[in-house]
Symmetry: none
Subunit: 532 residues, 2 copies
């Protein structure tokens, strides 16, 4: 493993092409354009935009991308080598690449003999010709041509001589970079070092790497590839892609830049990384993985009180890096073990307090009581904010509760229904809300909205986006206490989380619902009024 030289590493993103093979992943053309801009702002060098031959939507992206301005990133069109027994000119695969009108294209070809003979059903010699012809023809049309060697690692294990011939064909044809791919995802880091170390790299065009995560090693394989001579790395944002995904650029980029000292264009822009990760998650409509390295919500979270004391003394003793370098933030989880220093930090926005302030004492006691009852504020900071407001005497309730009444019934084979009614006092008016829904929590929320909307039109800005239930003492079976978490979002994309706990799931949900509306009212609506 070489440390003496640190060549520039090209970051090549395939979120919009290979990433689209992932389960549950689809992007509209508009999504793809927006994601391409985010990648450009992040300093990604190449953005693989799609496979123009595969369908009209893919081709449309390239037509639209032509009119877009990108500061640095180059858009790349993906396609395969010409078909056996044809010329490159006029071959539909090759022509589709040219019609994309991008400065750079990428051509995928076979590097495993069995794939050539059994899948392409052609000769090993013809496969080499297909690769040479396709790349050199595209070069003659002025394109930068990357060459993806599909199944390279498996192919090398089966027949290293042939895999090397494929690399040489790409080199001779003028490929910008030979991207060795682990298409089935079974290659391990030490094998990457062995195989890449055995290649006559000086006789070849520069190498790039493309890994899949089937053994959980896609990131490590990519780093090993770079340590073994590659100067180009492919991956996707959040690591989403076929099966277990592609190499995760959100892990590779900060590791190369901050930990290994490799120059990358994205280096100075990595403070945007967390935002880009979440933007792509939003477009993919996938809940971001809290445990994701560097950019996940839990990546810099700390639980215990002792830990927090150490953190405040010397961060490097408890954190492998500063969260802000990747645009993330440290989260001190409010938990049983949380010390006063945690609470002090949360209180700091409301004034200056010390460990001996009565408010700090009171909150510490309250937190202990609540946590003993089963409340958990780690994932429900908005509910904790309400506790703070109440303790400081700053809390303004949205309404005064009178009563709710829910009737759930089911007769014979008809589906169940719930009627929800509630009475409350909003801005000095006695109000009733009512709704009929399938389940009780849905009915309660609908009745609450029905009651509040005439007085607080901002209620319409709020949507509930997540609802989770945890049984706390399941051994009490149907009499167990349940904890409910609700996530809410406003029209501007701001999100917050609340919690409720009770033996009655309806009451637990009611607490979390009321906290959500109350939080929005106190933190957004009232503070805006005050600053106007």
């Amino acid at each position: 493993m070489t440390h003496e030289q640190k060549p520039f590493v090209v970051i090549y993103d395939t979120t919009l092409r290979d990433g689209m093979q992932g389960i549950e992943i689809t992007y509209t053309v508009e999504d793809k354009i927006q994601i391409a801009h985010k990648l450009d702002e992040l300093g990604v060098d190449y953005v693989e935009g799609g496979f123009p031959l595969s369908n009209e939507k893919e081709a449309e992206f390239f037509r639209r991308a032509r009119d877009e301005h990108f500061d640095h990133a180059k858009i790349v069109a993906f396609g395969s080598t010409r078909k056996p027994g044809r010329k490159a000119e006029g071959d539909p695969h090759i022509e589709a690449l040219l019609e994309a009108e991008t400065e750079a294209v990428i051509v995928v070809g076979k590097a495993w003999t069995e794939h050539v003979t059994k899948v392409l059903k052609t000769s090993l010699e013809e496969n080499l010709e297909m690769i040479y012809d396709s790349i050199s023809y595209l070069r003659s049309k002025g394109r930068i041509v990357f060459f993806d060697l599909e199944h390279f690692f498996d192919g090398y294990k089966a027949d290293p001589d042939y895999a090397l011939k494929v690399l040489r064909a790409g080199t001779e044809a003028g490929a910008e970079c030979l991207v060795v791919c682990d298409t089935n995802g079974g290659t391990l880091p030490h094998e990457v070092a062995e195989i890449m170390g055995a290649l006559p790299q000086k006789e070849l065009a520069p190498l790039g790497v493309h890994f899949h995560n089937d053994t959980g090693n896609a990131v490590a394989n990519s780093l090993m590839g770079i340590l073994s001579g590659a100067i180009h790395v492919q991956g996707t944002i959040n690591g989403w892609g076929e099966r277990c995904g592609n190499a995760n650029l959100c892990s590779i980029m900060p590791t190369l830049h901050y930990k290994m000292g490799y120059p990358i264009t994205a280096g100075p822009h990595l403070t945007k990384l967390t935002a880009v990760s979440r933007f792509v998650a939003e477009k993919a409509n996938i809940i971001p993985d809290k445990r994701q390295p560097y950019v996940g919500e839990a990546a810099f979270s700390h639980k215990a009180g002792q830990h927090v004391d150490v953190l405040l003394k010397a961060e490097h003793l408890m954190e492998h890096m500063d969260a802000s370098l990747v645009g993330n933030e440290r989260r001190i989880l409010i938990s049983e073990l949380a010390g006063k220093s945690t609470i002090l930090k949360k209180l700091s926005r409301y004034g200056s307090f010390t460990k001996d302030s009565p408010e700090v004492e009171q909150l510490t006691r309250l937190l202990k009581e609540k946590e003993a009852e089963g409340y958990e504020y780690e994932a429900a900071e908005a509910s904790f904010e309400i506790l703070i407001l109440k303790t400081l005497g700053l809390y303004k309730p949205l309404f005064e509760f009178d009563n709710y009444h829910l009737e759930s019934f089911k007769a014979g084979s008809a589906d169940s229904k719930t009627v929800g009614k509630l009475f409350l006092c909003a801005e000095d008016n006695e109000v009733m809300g009512a709704a009929v829904k399938v389940g009780p929590v849905e009915a309660l929320d609908a009745a609450l909205r029905d009651a509040l909307l005439p007085y607080y039109p901002f209620i319409e800005e709020i949507s509930l986006t997540d609802y989770r239930v945890r049984v706390l003492n399941p051994e009490r079976a149907t009499g167990a206490r349940v904890r409910v978490f609700i996530s809410s979002r406003n029209h501007n994309g701001h999100t917050w989380d609340t919690v409720g706990v009770h033996e009655n799931i309806i009451e637990a949900s009611w607490q979390a619902l009321v906290d959500s509306y109350d939080y929005y009212y106190n933190i957004f609506v009232l503070s805006q009024r005050n600053t106007q």
Copy 2:
């Protein structure tokens, strides 16, 4: 990297201890006992059960575990070295470890000078004494003692001589294994190889490794650690743990066994791996990651078309391994014979059937429909048994349902209450049941028992022991569909599990409740009557 020899590798699971530090992870004592049994069946060598000193719940696990039978796995209690300036004997940390009454214990000590001086606030020399004393005292009490070297890699980078002294202190004190830990998670695979390669391993006790996933390299680091001489690897099921998690044993075990040829006890049991992964997810109430290597739902998925054609020709061309080796299955978009053999197996107790029997066809179709709606029978076999009885025309309902009606209300600051009423027909009698409870599910169950008890005294033999709720499409918030699991037990300790799915949690719970009583009636009560 050595390939010539493949020593036996010890698998050490810390799901129940370090894994509990993960965001949103909590297990009851009963959950922990059940998970320990699953790990034992899988062939895990050591199961770290918790930190007995930290709280009563942790200590209770060890009291319960003493009476449990494990085929192979040894339970390990976790704790730290003695406090500075004390003796090991009588130190609360050390005594708590002895009181756990396990054959093996693990002691964590500091390997980074700054942590010794700034966090422990003691001298470097005293830290070495603390380590030596603690381990040798525990050894003198007949325990197998593992030694966790906290922050080893960061400590080694800062002061390799001191880190080596810590290793030697553990060796001299008689530690079974020196577990080098990357506590902050920033170490990279090539650094693991360099640092471990530089250690005088022949002069030391055997090495083990413990990695965190903060750069996405915990699995690769573990493999690199083993290639660099470690013979013990720590991790968690699904990789859940503090921040970005621990090294994922669900990736490490199949890679060691199937791809690297290292002998592990779990080797012959890895066909259970996917089931264990999902069992732990169920207990943690976390939706399993579909993209997880080896055990994820998408790990062996293929989009239809060309891929599938290639697959049917030669699987190894498109898959890095056979999914069934880890108990997972290939998923392709064309309809498949998936599940038929499982169904056949289940049916065998009711007679002889073949894959072409109409009952098998019918059950396969039904199972597909139900699973598409969100039912899951892996953890609810009693509900599946009822589907079988219904399909075969053998099902005898316990009662005929007429209607249920639940009223939940809360007024002012009084606690919420639910009145449950239901009408049904039992043994040709029209019966009403009624009850008042806090929550709706409790009220429904109590009303059902009220109605049935006069006709079926055996109802008293049944108690409900577990109730779990999972929101299936959380993005639909309070209108989401929920899945309820209920575990039941009779007076003889026999247990069974049932499932219900609906947008209305009451209705989902009702389905699982009725299945539970029906199952007991059909399988226990009626069959006993028939054999008398």
